[in-house]
Symmetry: C2
Subunit: 201 residues, 2 copies
């Protein structure tokens, strides 16, 4: 097996690209997001770790005008115009039936799927791991040279009823994706200092 | 305001460093994780986006032998030996009282804290956003040139009772951190193909 190279620190300008200078975009150019870019994002995301290798994140790309029209009514009013104009919108959702894939994804524990018979525990695991994957997703959008506009201002039950009528998927984040347009950025909001977020016992 | 540089695509070897070649480590060298490394990880994580800029992730570093002895009984048996031997263990937890900080973190909406009066909704937001930050955290550990060993095999209620007796924080992930030692890696498990995780409407 090829060993990962772990001695390398990500160079500071690329730390800035992914984290410090990267910003939530609120306006985009008309330039489309290509299939190659979406495939790169997915290829990065899928390699991120999840518990039991469960990979519960499902990504639904909303690109056509018809699909956009189904999505927009479920957004908070302040999110509609920018989402209507973004080149691409991704609905991030958790697959609550992820255990069905575990025999294949976690093959050394053939009974892993049985650990999640309780629906509450299953949904909590799906939400935790798909949200971690959403973190990977936003970093991956930036790694692909694009800007992301994540939004939680929408009605998840409405989106689920419209797009996921079988009840298996739970939407939890919308992400506008594209290249930043005029007035894309708002002022950077304050961040917690080290001692406010980190402690040692 | 300085605009982020979004035309840059992360070079492929660094995509590999953070995602494709990076792996969950199960054994570490004795070399300590330095304060500077932990501060770099935090500085990257804190710049990642969260809803309402809420930043609910709290990171508790477990380094001393005494603190380690309080943690280990709450781990699943298969996680104890490697966690006892790791140079550093981080307990990732969600601050369910994150709205208390919103007047300062989300100042343009002075009433934002009032949106989270319902405890269920508040805890769900805390868990979603802290899990996204956990995604940033694991990528940031790798960006700092270190290896991460995330684990969900522990008893969160037991950890919370031991470390967070006031009931405000909810632990959801443990992460061993260090430099990979002998036999650090297991075989890469299968990942979902593009069409299994991504669809277009």
């Amino acid at each position: 097996m090829t060993l990962p190279e772990t001695a390398t620190v990500l160079p500071e300008p690329l730390q800035d690209l992914l984290f410090r200078q990267a910003r939530t975009a609120h306006a985009f150019t008309d330039e489309p997001v290509t299939d190659e870019e979406v495939r790169l994002i997915h290829d990065l995301v899928r390699h991120g770790p999840t518990a039991f290798n469960s990979q519960p994140l499902r990504i639904v790309l909303v690109r056509s005008a018809a699909a956009r029209a189904r999505l927009l009514p479920h957004l908070s009013s302040g999110n509609r115009a920018k989402t209507a104009a973004a080149p691409l919108v991704a609905v991030l959702a958790a697959d609550t039936e992820f255990p069905r894939r575990l025999p294949e994804l976690f093959p050394h524990e053939p009974r892993a799927a049985e650990w999640f018979g309780d629906q509450t525990a299953r949904e909590q695991q799906a939400r935790l791991n798909s949200a971690m994957q959403a973190g990977y997703f936003l970093i991956a959008v930036r790694a692909a040279g694009l800007a992301a506009g994540p939004m939680s201002g929408f009605d998840p039950a409405g989106v689920d009823a419209e797009f996921f009528p079988d009840g298996r998927l739970r939407s939890f984040l919308l992400v506008n994706i594209g290249r930043p347009g005029p007035n894309a950025w708002r002022e950077r909001l304050p961040r917690l200092a080290y001692d406010e977020a980190v402690s040692e016992v």
